[in-house]
């Protein structure tokens, strides 16, 4: 008895002793009064290290909002003033997110460039204080560290990051049409070298932790932990913090230095960069490249180059001034508003507004192992969905399975997957020629040839074998879903899923509901689409739904322009210089001339006069000659394996000559040609909203940009009308209407917006 009591007191003694010397244990904080009063940030002290924890309430991510910034400054001031504290660690309490960037709404609420510039200057000042801190600050990064978050991290003396897939660093500002405005353009080049800094800031790409370590963007990596006495994520953050505290101590004790050993290549680069001539050449090179890629449509990249240049050539102070001014200017541009609009739209289209489906889709079956079917299979198996890929022939199935394997294997080559992961993902796929196992399918997506009779046949076959709850989704670009559903025993389970090719690259998924489709069916396909990583718009059924319907009139105009004697190369350059990522003629080749013909005929029938323009005869003749586009090697262009510069298909000259129509000189300037294409697109998009095909303008913009390549700098057809004025578009349409008639008649909703300039699609 006595013995056990003795041990008990021993244990208690041990515990109290550790409390008294705080350097020993990690778990005891000396309480701070601030702990209770702040909402975004709190801090505790471990020994002589302050641990600042960032955790914005009610949000999955931390963003640099005004409140967070002011609390951060308060906390840091306390830490600097406290003699007991010798170093600090910054860490987020949210798994998967350090700081995701500045608060976009904070920028959006600014009325003038000056206001934004001031915001930028505040940020610059805050981070400069961090940079000059005599107490070393260690950023412990787990999860996304983007934009302002990265700028914060690189102002610290030391960075430690978790080496997992969720941890990414980057400066995505350029994708929003702005620049890193809190010292990023000045600090980043010094940290990773000018070329790497340009690459980061101009592409906005995410950099994974291990790559960041190699670049010198972070100093140490921490391996993610498995489960121990706590869930993995929780323990990993705790461990990251423990490691960071150790390093913070060693930094303040000067046991380690913040200076990094540079490799030979790095040394050589930094030596080269010290030569003014080399620097000038690099600026020039980068500017040329940017010009070529943006066609001058995006102002942000050039200003980023400018701000970096100013900092390097004229010193920090000038650099900061330049950065903040340009930040202000950029935030007020139409391009940045358009891009931010797209960002918001994308966030919106990544949510399932139809609620949680009753049944989680675990078994998926895909009919047709063609380009689309195999693509859908690929984006499903790598999310862990057991997928059956069924085709009618062994050769077709082979090709499809090979496509999935190649898609995964390419990721292995890029080191995004290990070969083992590839194999285990690939084992989620079953290729077969019969309906075995369909009795377990929760969802069937058919991607068979675009032929109504065939689709009816497979629908009936599928319904005979699948369980009652199974959803039947049709991947079609133009066949109305209600027509497909007409032979179904359970039309409430039938829905359209329009994927875009190539499925693993294109982000958009257009979901088409009929009058009869149930809400749970919609919720279920949206859930699957989101799992597949898609941005989703949900539209009503109708000929061409939304995306194909917008594209068709533009394509009709493409044909007319070609018939008027403009050659495909010129047409391509006109469309790309307007901001489309792919030229109009090339697009037809990519989509497939036969598909385009199909769509043009179907929609031509459905919409009549309004869809007129060029003659479908052109497409018909091309199809009959076997010019099906890229897939057949010939279309408007000739495609050869390994040849980069494609040349025009001269066999087409005869066909074009025979179908030539005289151009109308007053609507044939380059600019007119561009606007004839774009206005028809925009007009049709707005008509879709008017008719209720589209539920919201945001979905319309997302669909147009992510599915059809509508110029992102314009933000999509609706944002474009809002930013540039409905009246201007109506004027253009009227001018072309005078020349060509009905296809250019502006729709009522557009006219309404032109008549009352206060009316906006986005309030």
């Amino acid at each position: 008895m006595v013995a056990s009591r003795a041990i008990g007191s021993l244990r208690r003694f041990a515990a109290s002793r550790t409390l008294r010397c705080p350097g020993y244990t990690c778990r005891n904080f000396s309480a701070s009064s601030a702990l209770l009063t702040r909402t975004h940030i709190n801090y505790g002290v471990k020994g002589d290290v302050a641990v600042v924890r960032i955790n914005s309430p009610n949000s999955k991510v931390n963003t640099l909002s005004r409140e967070l910034q002011s609390e951060f400054i308060e906390v840091m001031n306390e830490i600097w003033a406290n003699d007991q504290i010798r170093s600090a660690v910054l860490v987020s309490s949210k798994p998967g997110c350090f700081i995701a960037g500045a608060d976009i709404n904070m920028l959006a609420s600014c009325k003038s460039a000056e206001e934004v510039t001031q915001l930028s200057q505040e940020g610059q000042r805050m981070f400069e204080k961090l940079e000059k801190s005599t107490k070393p600050i260690v950023a412990a990064i787990s999860g996304s560290c983007l934009g302002g978050g990265l700028e914060l991290a690189i102002s610290c003396q030391y960075r430690i990051a978790t080496k997992d897939r969720k941890t990414v660093l980057g400066t995505p500002e350029v994708l929003l049409g702005i620049l890193p405005g809190a010292g990023g353009t000045q600090r980043l080049p010094k940290m990773v070298g000018v070329p790497a800094a340009f690459d980061m800031m101009l592409t906005g790409r995410n950099i994974r932790a291990d790559r960041a370590k190699k670049m010198g963007l972070v100093d140490q990596l921490v391996e993610p932990l498995g489960p121990g006495l706590k869930p993995s994520e929780e323990r990993t953050i705790e461990y990251l913090e423990e490691v960071a505290v150790t390093f913070a101590k060693e930094l303040s004790d000067k046991k380690i230095s913040v200076k990094r050993d540079k490799g030979l290549v790095e040394k050589l680069t930094s030596y080269a960069m010290s030569i003014p001539f080399v620097r000038q050449q690099i600026y020039k090179k980068v500017e040329e490249k940017v010009q070529k890629q943006t066609k001058g449509l995006y102002p942000a990249p050039l200003k980023i180059i400018d701000a970096v240049k100013t900092g390097i050539e004229q010193g920090n102070d000038a650099g900061y001034v330049s950065e903040s001014q340009k930040f202000g200017e950029l935030a007020m541009t139409k391009e940045s508003k358009a891009l931010m609009g797209l960002y918001h739209g994308q966030v919106l289209c990544k949510k399932n507004k139809f609620g949680t489906p009753q049944k989680d889709v675990k078994h998926l079956a895909i009919l047709g192992a063609g380009l689309m079917g195999a693509g859908i299979a690929q984006v499903s198996v790598d999310k862990g969905i057991k997928t059956i890929l069924k085709d009618a022939t062994l050769a077709g199935l082979d090709r499809g399975q090979q496509q999935v394997f190649k898609g995964l294997n390419d990721k292995v080559k890029k080191k995004a997957l290990t070969s083992f992961e590839r194999d285990s993902i690939f084992s989620n796929l079953t290729g077969q020629l019969d309906y075995q196992g369909f009795e377990k399918a929760d969802m069937v997506i058919e991607a068979v040839f675009e032929d109504l009779n065939l689709k009816h046949r497979v629908l009936k076959e599928v319904e005979a074998v699948v369980p009652d709850h199974c959803v039947f989704a049709s991947n079609t670009s133009a066949l109305p879903i209600s027509q497909i559903a007409s032979v179904s025993k359970r039309p409430e389970k039938v829905i359209g899923m329009h994927y875009f090719s190539p499925v693993d690259k294109m982000q958009l998924l257009e979901i088409i509901t009929t009058e009869k489709t149930s809400k749970d069916t919609t919720a279920s396909v949206v859930a699957v689409g989101l799992k597949q990583g898609k941005v989703i718009i949900v539209v009503k059924d109708g000929p061409g739904f939304y995306t194909t319907r917008c594209l068709a009139p533009m394509m009709s105009e493409v044909l007319r322009i070609l018939q008027e004697g403009v050659d495909p190369k010129k047409l391509d350059s006109l469309t790309t210089s307007f901001g489309f990522p792919v030229g109009a003629a090339t697009l037809v080749d990519e989509v497939g001339v036969d598909v385009a013909k199909h769509v043009a005929e179907d929609l031509g029938k459905a919409f009549g006069e309004r869809f007129e323009g060029g003659s479908v005869e052109l497409l018909k003749q091309m199809v009959s000659r076997g010019f099906l586009g890229r897939k057949s090697g010939k279309g408007f262009y000739i495609y050869q394996e390994g040849v980069k510069n494609k040349s025009l298909n001269s066999d087409l000259d005869g066909i074009l000559a025979s179908l030539k129509v005289p151009p109308k000189s007053d609507v044939c300037s380059d600019e007119d040609l561009q606007y004839r294409l774009v206005t028809r697109f925009v007009n049709e998009a707005i008509m879709c909203l008017q008719e209720g095909i589209l539920a919201t303008p945001a979905e319309g913009d997302i669909g147009a940009v992510f599915g059809l390549g509508f110029p992102p700098c314009l933000g999509g057809p609706f944002r474009y009308v809002d930013l540039y004025g409905a009246q201007k578009i109506v004027d253009r349409l009227r001018k072309y209407e005078a020349a060509y008639g009905k296809p250019f008649t502006p729709c009522q909703l557009l006219i309404d917006h032109a008549n009352s300039p206060n009316k906006k699609f986005y309030q």
């Binding site: 056990s4 041990i7 391996e223 932990l225 498995g226 489960p227 006495l229 869930p231 993995s232 290990t418």
Partner: protein
């Protein structure tokens, strides 16, 4: 009183200071002395099952385990295996023709002797009519050899089986690169000089870069030490705890060696060298010395070092297993029964080395025993951090509920019954041979220290694990 005492002991956090633990040592001894009468209160008197043959270990031996690159470095794996077999023959005087079957475990295979069991058996003079095969299951290969033998006897196929294991880390197969191999194979097939020349013309210098046997887990590309370091961190096992545990292992092994307790070791006259009589990896050091070492895997802040990991080892072991009635008929006095065993497997990334945690409750359940019934624990020590992480996992209800689908924890083994004669950290760990050493250590400890049940457990690459109950043979 006793129960309160042991309770307190078990609940001491394993993070407590070494000094504290040391001060408890005399206490634990006294509790153990008093625990002797408690042996009668075991939940089961024996694990014999009706209608199932009792299987016994007659004897088990091993040649001394040496650090790789020392006395065995010129030999081949079957040489070591043969030495172990000869040692067993010598110790037991078993007539060679009585042996029905021979099974050996090995991990890194010498391609020339891929069925090393057969080559060693022939060399050791066993009948060429005795079949032999080789099994591989990473660090539990010898366990697999033994349990395969158990299966053969239990099913009535055999009466007498020799099981063992061997590993020679002094020499590993380093291959030509795939490209070089392909060219050589194609050259073999080429018929004309022209074909040969055209093949040779495709030769590039990088064909010569050799291919080393993988030290990393194939599925995750992570080395085991790296995984052990992460495991230790996941369970918040400190560097000091690990060093202390390693020191314990070395100290106990040294003591056991000095007191002559390691009776399973048989001397091996290495051709051209002196006779090797004892393990050479036992090196009790001091905590200060150990603290100086830099982490070996996760640099610069990890906790797994050379001093708290098992080292690369050469060695072999062999064991004579029989049906009880056969052993008695032949006049042997068996050492122990081999009872229930399990194999488990789990996530090869984050739980690579947690095999014992998963296997222990399962095997106890199967045998109808509890932790308190066990008198001798013999766990394979891959890394200090791995052992301590397993202790913590076994002692966590949260872990049991969330990862093992169990209602409660099984509890961690009491340290005073755990690896009392050293473990893989100090004695060495020839991958394929360790399993037999564990079983023999448990059997010999039960005979020496008294007690009825021993529990053997081990983790293995691939995220697998094994546990077996060893029951002392009544004296």
């Amino acid at each position: 009183m006793t129960s309160i005492l042991t309770y307190t002991l078990k609940n001491l956090p394993s993070t407590s200071k070494w000094a504290l633990r040391f001060s408890l040592r005399p206490l634990s001894c006294s509790s153990q002395l008093r625990a002797t009468p408690a042996a009668q209160t075991k939940s089961k008197k024996t694990l014999a099952k009706p209608n199932i043959r009792n299987i016994v270990v007659v004897e088990g031996v091993r040649i001394p385990f040496l650090q790789s690159g020392t006395s065995y470095k010129e030999l081949m794996p079957h040489d070591l295996a043969r030495a172990a077999l000869l040692g067993l023959l010598h110790r037991t005087s078993v007539p060679k023709d009585v042996v029905d079957y021979i099974i050996f475990g090995t991990v890194i295979q010498e391609v020339k002797t891929s069925n090393v069991a057969r080559e060693a058996a022939l060399g050791a003079g066993f009948s060429d009519k005795t079949p032999a095969h080789t099994v591989t299951m990473a660090c539990i290969s010898a366990n697999q050899a033994m349990t395969t033998g158990v299966g053969l006897i239990a099913s009535g196929q055999c009466d007498v089986v020799v099981a063992g294991g061997v590993e020679l880390m002094s020499d590993v197969p380093i291959r030509h690169s795939r490209k070089m191999r392909k060219m050589l194979l194609d050259l073999n097939k080429a018929k004309t000089l022209g074909q040969r020349l055209s093949l040779i013309s495709k030769f590039r210098l990088n064909f010569l870069s050799p291919e080393l046997p993988a030290v990393a887990e194939f599925s995750t590309s992570e080395t085991m030490g790296h995984s052990a370091d992460r495991l230790a961190a996941a369970f918040a096992v400190s560097r000091l705890d690990q060093d202390e545990y390693a020191l314990r292992s070395h100290s106990l092994a040294k003591k056991a060696q000095d007191e002559g307790l390691l009776s399973d070791v048989v001397p091996f006259k290495v051709p051209g060298k002196d006779t090797v009589t004892k393990d050479n990896g036992i090196r009790p050091s001091s905590l200060e010395q150990m603290a100086k070492l830099k982490p070996a895997f996760i640099k610069p802040y990890g906790t797994v070092t050379a001093a708290n990991s098992s080292f690369l080892t050469d060695g072999a072991s062999a064991m004579l297993i029989m049906a009880e009635e056969k052993a008695l008929a032949m006049g042997y006095k068996p050492k122990a029964y081999l009872r229930d065993f399990v194999y488990v497997s789990q996530d090869p990334k984050d739980q690579l080395l947690l095999g014992p945690t998963y296997a222990t409750p399962k095997v106890l359940e199967r045998a109808g025993l509890t932790m308190t019934d066990i008198d001798a624990f013999e766990f394979h020590e891959a890394f200090s951090g791995q052992i301590l992480a397993n202790f913590k996992a076994m002692d966590s209800d949260w872990f049991a509920q969330n990862y093992m689908g169990r209602k409660t924890k099984v509890g961690s083994p009491p340290l005073e019954k755990f690896n009392n004669w050293g473990g893989s950290l100090s004695l060495g760990h020839p991958f394929g041979a360790t399993g037999c050493r564990l079983v023999m250590a448990a059997a010999n400890r039960l005979r020496k220290e008294g007690g009825q049940y021993g529990l053997v457990a081990a983790c293995a690459a691939g995220g697998q694990g094994h546990a077996m109950i060893v029951e002392a043979y009544p004296k």
